[in-house]
Amino acid sequence: MKQMNLTRRKLLKMGMLSVCGTMIPLSALEIFKPEALATTLDHPYSQKKRWAFVVDTTKCVGCGMCVKACKLENEIPFDAEVTRTWIERYVLTNKGDVLIDSPHGDRYGYTKNDPEGHDLTDAETLKGFFVPKLCNHCEKPSCVQVCPVGATYKTDDGVVLVDRTWCIGCGYCITNCPYFARFFHPVYNTAEKCTFCYHRISKGLKSACVDACAFGVRKIGMLHDPDSEVFKIITTQRTMVLKPEYGNEPHVFYLGLDHIVR
């Protein structure tokens, strides 16, 4: 057998080749790591760095503490018949009627079984539930589209706000909201609506209504954050949005809606 002369050069060359050679299968492992795969997939929620809200109507008791907290937190005169958020009550009677009401937006709470003023007995009440509503902070807000002066806008993190110093009070945005989440502020006379408590969430706090709810109905978080409650609910449970047919892409996701919900 011919003796192989192992020169330094040959050793280095072989060494380099083996190191490079082993790098290839190792790097293949890198590519096929499950976590890496997850980020390369077109994850619909991982791209959108924006706020989202979840409402679990199966837990809502209609106490209206959220409405009260919102009014006081956001300086909406308490007795004024306008509100940034409200709770609707839906009751299906044994006669097949659907009764819907929201007395004063529910800022005083529901304490009697008297939807639309009809005093119902337990026997007459087939099913009922509460639906909290607020601005949906849509991805394609039809309200922002129609503002003639650029007084209302969407922030980089998806929250729709109004510039009180620029709004001319034409009401076009109010008319163009499918959910009627907007109104004129009784004092400032500019368009007004839920801001997700932008002044709170931007400081790491939760919206006032989220904190005020003792029953865990309301949740807010960043849509792309896998650790947030909203991400977990939206990606694992069956959620719905209100009026998707308008094409606004609302970002308040509901659990427990029913076909009778307006």
């Binding site: 209206g64 308490f78 079984n113 969407k154 922030t155 706000l161 932008y198 006032a208 005020a212």
Partner: protein, 172 residues
Amino acid sequence: MNHAWRPLILIVALLVVLLTVRWFLVPSDFMAKNGDYKYQWHRVGSEKFWRDEFTVKHKGREFCKQCHEDKIELVADSGHARVQCENCHVMFNPEKKGHPVDLKADFGYLLDIGIDRSRELCKRCHSKLPYRPKEFTSLTKGVKPFKMIDPQEHNPGEECVDCHDVHRTGFK
């Protein structure tokens, strides 16, 4: 010069005036952020107002804990563990306000704190309605039945707090 040009010159002059006026009156931070003229055409300074200048009113349990640590600890161990102090103690009727320390002057706290002993407050959650969820699921200790009463039957005319200790509510 042909007289026919005069109206046009007048119109152009007015336009120039308008554009000049516009240059002075439009805030310098008014823009289509991210080039999104459809949804982000606004005065950027407005974001600063909503984010930084608008005051935070509800400060949560941690704020009350500064002085009322004993009550906070009681509540944290009770059925009302998830109910904020502010839920019951912030008065929407300014006449009901009555906190011995001036919270606004000393702490910059802007809400009216008081004690509401009326049935109306408790009824908001505890009135029996056939469609209220019968179970309370937000406690760390697990799912508990949600206690409700018929306000017409259950000691009408009396205050709930006469018999119930709201800060201690029941189970351990």
